[in-house]
Structure formats: C-alpha cells, structure tokens
Symmetry: C2
Subunit: 306 residues, 2 copies
C-alpha cells in the first residue's frame, strides 16, 4: 500500500492545472446547458444560473474527467456527464440549504439561493436543475443511446431514495442525536459517497471503455475517497474558518449533528482520512500511472482547507 505523503510542489502544480482546465470545461458545459434568458420565466432561469455557476470545488466533475481520461477517453467525452452530475449535486445543495432542511444562509461564499431569491424560487430552481441533469444526458449526441441510458441509471441510483436523498433524510433525522460510528458512516456513504462513486462510474461509461475490472477498481477508489472527503468536511467544520469554506463553520455543532471529530476526536479523524486515501490509491495503483490525477486528487481531498 502506498503511504500517504503530502503533495509535492510539482504534483500540486500539475493538479492545479488539471483542476483549472477541467473546471473551466465543466463551467462552459453547464453554462451552455442552462435555459436562455428568453425562456418563459426569467426569474427561474436567473436563479438556476446563480446556483449552478456560483463557484464550488467541482469535485464530482473532476472525478468524471479523471476517470474518463484514465479509461482512455477524452476530456470532451466527459463534458456532458461532468455537467450533469454537477447540476444534480447543485440541486441537492439548493434544497438542503432550505429553511425546512439545514437552514443555511451561506453557500460557496455567497447567499444561498433561497436568501438571494426566495424559498419558492429556490425549490423550483432546485427542481429544474434536477430535471436538466437528466435532459442533458438524454440529449447528449456524443453518447450512444445505450451510454445515455447507463449514465442516467447510474446517476438516478446514486441520487434517489436508496442513495443521496436517503442520506439527507437520515441526516435530518439524526439532528440532536448521537449516532454510532457505523450509522454516521452509512449516512455519509449515502449522502456523499454514492454520488462520488457515481462520478467515477460515469467517467468510465462516458469514455466508452468496457473494462469491467477497471470500472470496479475505480469504484472501490470512489467508495474510499467519498468517505475521506466527508471526514475532511467534518474536520474543516471544526477547524476551518467561514471565509475559506465559503459556508458557515461550526454549522454541524449548531445543528447538534454527529461528526467524525465529535465521535472519535480530531487526530483519529485525520488518521482515518489518511488511511482511506491510502486504500483508495491502492485500489487503482495497478491501473493508474503515477501522475494520474486520481492519485493526486485523493490527496488533495484530505489536504484541502475548504
């Protein structure tokens, strides 16, 4: 197993280039997919763009690109899948931020959608971003109908009542309750992990590659870094500052939510994140060249400060 070492300057700078270029691509693809200003409701269109183009780490799209390119596909082949999963993720953020859910005022360094507009508009903007994710995949001319159907299935299964939304429901029900570590891990696996693994699977599908063993290695990688990502999120909620995070820090504690640092302490949380990162990289070490963005992304995920 590869020991986790901090990213070296040269690795970090390669990763920065990869991230900047692919973020630009996915932003362009999202921008092109949004309805025009001449659509029947300018307010709705505006709110969709506000939520979808307001920055963000774009982790899921980056994973789509990295997996697609590892499987021999081009960045161009990954564009639509990357945009679709980010639209889906954005809808979930808009709805999770609503007063009846996490009641957040700040997201990606700006007012949340329902604060910038109003609740009804935010509910509808989330709904239309949700629909748009599937419309984009169903209409993607550079994928075969079979690929499109597979991409939609993967995204639905990860997002729906047996995935992300069930995780959010568990999260709501767990407020003011102390979860066991196993329950906390299940909740995060559903809420975050399922979509992260879906991103990787969608990258492979978008590439047109049918290598089952590669897909399975990349999915194992996804399961590990999905959890590592969430542990780092919990750590940053304790030690981060709102300016860098772009959202309120200490929000978990305010809502009485169980967190990894709360359950096992800060140092053990950091160790667990590093261990998961090592396991993720080991899962793909036979298939990924040493400079693969997947390997550096795994370390970025546990080293990031926002």
């Amino acid at each position: 197993m590869l020991p986790t070492t901090p990213l070296m300057t040269s690795e970090f700078s390669d990763l920065q280039v990869f991230m900047a270029e692919r973020r630009q691509r996915v932003d362009d693809a999202i921008r092109q997919s949004l309805p025009s200003r001449h659509s029947p409701s300018a307010r709705l269109t505006e709110a969709m763009a506000y939520a979808a183009l307001g920055g963000g780490k774009r982790i899921r799209p980056l994973l789509v690109y990295a997996a697609c390119e590892l499987a021999g596909g081009s960045a161009e082949q990954a564009d639509v899948a990357a945009a679709a999963i980010e639209l889906l993720h954005t809808y979930s953020l808009v709805h999770d931020d609503l007063p009846a859910m996490d009641d957040d005022d700040l997201r990606r360094g700006r007012a949340t959608c329902h604060r910038a507009y109003d609740e009804a508009t935010a509910i509808l903007a989330g709904d239309t971003l949700h629909t748009l994710a599937f419309e984009l995949l169903a209409s993607a001319g550079n994928y075969s109908p079979i690929q499109r159907v597979e991409l939609i299935q993967t995204l639905c299964q990860a997002a729906g009542a047996e995935g992300m939304a069930a995780g959010q429901m568990q999260d709501m029900q767990a407020e003011r309750q102390l979860l066991t570590l196993a329950a906390l891990e299940e909740m995060h696996y559903l809420k975050t992990g399922r979509l992260i693994t879906a991103a990787l699977k969608m990258g492979i599908t978008a590439s047109g590659c049918n290598d089952v063993s590669l897909a399975s290695a990349v999915e194992e990688y996804g399961d590990r870094i999905g959890l590592a990502f969430q542990i780092q999120d919990d750590i940053l909620d304790v030690v981060g500052c709102a300016d860098a995070l772009g959202k309120s820090s200490g929000a978990d504690e305010k809502l009485g939510k169980s967190t990894f640092p709360g359950l096992i302490g800060l140092e053990a949380s950091r160790q667990r994140a590093r261990q998961l990162c090592d396991q993720a990289c080991a899962a793909i070490s036979d298939r990924a060249p040493p400079n693969s963005p997947l390997l550096t992304l795994a370390r970025y995920i546990i080293e990031r400060q926002h």
Copy 2:
C-alpha cells in the same frame, strides 16, 4: 367539427371500465417501482408511497394508455411510461403544496405530504419521486434504449424550466395580480398543458409506432384538452365542493389568483372548454375510431365534477 354532446350512458360506462382497468395497472406499476421498506430510510419510502398511491384521477397515465393503444400498442407497453409521468406529476404536486408555494393542507382528499409528515420529508419525497420517474424509464427493459432516451427527453422538456416548472413560477409570481387572458393561457399551457401533451407523445413512443402524422394529431389534441382541463379545474374551484374535489375549493380566490371564470365569467369559461374539447376531438377524428377512449376522455375532462 364534432359538436360536443354530453357522454351517453353507454359511452360513459365503457370509459369507466377503461379508466378503472388502466388506473389499476398504473397503480400496480407505481407500487412495484417504489423502494422497499428495507431501503435506507423507511420514513422517506413511506412518504413517497403516501404521495404516489393516494388516489388521484390519473389523467396523464390514462392519456398514455389511450395514445399507446390508438397507435397499435398494448396496455402493457404503456405501463412504465404511464407510471413515470404520474410519479413526475406527483413530485410536482408535493412541492407545489409546500408552505412556501401554495401552502395547501388537502390533496386528493387527505392531508398533503408536508402535513402528514413534515416539510423536510415532503421536499425529499418530492425529490425522490422526481428521480424515480427517470430511473424507471432508463431501466425499462421493454423499451429499446432509443425509446427510453426519447421518453426521458419528452418528459424532461415538458417538466423543466421551459415547461411545467416555469408555469409554476409564473403562477407564484402572478398571485395578487390580474393577468391578461393570454398570460393566463400561457401559464396554464406551461404548468399543465405541456405535461398532458407529453403524456400523449410518450404513449406513441411507448407503442413503438413511428407515424409522424399520428403523433402530430395526437399532440394537437393534447394541447387543446390540456387547456380545457385547466379551465374545468378553475370552474370547479368556483362551483365545486371540497369533499368532491379532495382539495380546498375557493383556493384560487384565497391566493388572489387569476382564473378563467374570474377573467371571462363562468358561462364563457364553459363555452371555451367545450370549444377546446371539440377542437381536440376534431384533431384526431380521422385517426381515432368513434369508440376511442381519447374521444370520450376529452368529454370526461370537461364534464368531471372533481
């Protein structure tokens, strides 16, 4: 053009049989599609079933069946498309009823989803019904990948930011404003008409029939009865009673919404609904046999009392 005559007893009884049988089919298909009780969130699964299996006229599924069968397809071929569009419609009802939107307490004769559960659960149940509609279509083994992609495209385009959701946004913005008749018609075309026409188009796609002129005739029928359906809804909101409607009557007036009876009076609204019904039937008169459920459904839509 066929003059609208009230449904005769024999026609009505044939239609009753058609409606009862097809409603049973679509309820079975919806029930089978819902996640099991062993899914990660029992509460979410329960709320989805509460919303999706709580009765309702099932107008959109009935139109899917009628169009599919007119195009030479079987009821079995229509099942999944019918279930998917009803799940999509149900998600929109759950979200439209929320306090930040229409704030309704009663739907289909029972407490609305957020009253029976809570707001967060209703938002998530709507979201998961939305995802499930597309998952169902993407996974439908009895359609080819091309058919599945077409069905998803049709449903997305009708439901999204240039369709149903834009209509709901216009509806929210129009509260306490007097709309022109043209603006009212556009709003209803988006909010209700687009999905009704999509139901018919999906029925044709599900049948496997590629007859473009039939599809276009049936879509014209859909555009007319979609508006007729909404006019009758407005009429019932004025003259109906809550017991028969299964939702609050007088709700439009309470919210200061523009309605057809409010703008042009009750009698002119009835005349307009009859005229649209005649035009709808005329659009398909060359293709539909006299006993086609589409012809009787059009009259049912403007004669129904709930």
